[in-house]
Symmetry: C2
Subunit: 140 residues, 2 copies
DNA sequence: ATTCTTAGTTTACAACCGTAAACAAAATGT
DNA sequence: ACATTTTGTTTACGGTTGTAAACTAAGAAT
């Protein structure tokens, strides 16, 4: 049961920048986040340190300023986070939660097609009803 | 900017039981969670207290044992949690995150139809591409 | 070489969370 | 009425998170 390291809300903001740029110096991250948020540079430095401790980032320390690179793939991080949250939910309600997300998210035409396709596949084996197991003794 | 109270993973387990039962005494919650988890009853009591402080639960204190009732609707809680998490994500990747969820969740036939319907509606106004704004100065 | 600046490291502190024991008050059994 | 059990309240403690200042080491400017 190796505990999964989770990313806090603030840490997500840092990772998004580094994922988007591919790699970044602390100055780049700080400049961008000082425009996006009201965080002080010290705060952002702390977040970078914590992300290194959690093995989400590593510093290329051959020369300064260090270049920070992601150690986890963005899609993998999203997969873990989202599924981790869905694990909290009543099985019966996940379908409606997904519908709610569809309605509240901006999604491209091609992603819409992809999701519809995934739903078509799903429909071939999907049950008529999903049972609630909120009271059952399934170990969490 | 009134801070939204969030529910921790452990607190979710308590809420799910009370939502499913409609209301419950601490004994009911404790009995169920002692079968589902290895938490001690003291732990579960603490969670109930914290959920009251966060206004997710209230105790009917007219007679003992108290009866605990949800102060927040389960669907509303799910909506808030899920959208709160999606706020962390790069806009460009939300579509694929939803597809991933579809593939990894058990969903009923009728929920599948509902989601497809929502996607059809969405497709009428969906953009060809969604722009990434991870580096932009939108206040979080 | 000495000073200024930038970037990385250490320390800080309150709130929240997982986890639970200890304590107190009410209800129940005898 | 008194002992026992149940249930609610208080206190605890280490780890995480938001938030940041202070300190230090390395580069850059003079």
């Amino acid at each position: 049961m190796t505990e999964i390291e989770t990313m806090s809300k603030a840490e997500w903001q840092v990772m998004r920048i580094i994922w988007t740029l591919g790699q970044a110096t602390s100055k780049e991250v700080i400049d961008i986040l000082e425009r996006k948020t009201d965080w002080k540079s010290a705060t952002i430095k702390t977040l970078i340190v914590r992300l290194q401790k959690k093995n989400f980032l590593k510093a290329e320390e051959t020369k300064r300023p260090y270049v920070y690179k992601p150690l986890i793939d963005e899609d993998m991080a999203i997969h873990q986070s989202v599924n981790n949250l869905f694990d909290n939910l009543c099985c019966m309600r996940k379908g409606q939660a997904i519908k709610d997300l569809v309605q509240n998210s901006e999604i491209s035409q091609s992603d819409i097609s992809d999701i519809v396709e995934a739903l078509n596949v799903k429909a071939k084996t999907a049950p008529e009803e999903v049972e609630c197991n909120c009271l059952e003794a399934n170990l969490i």
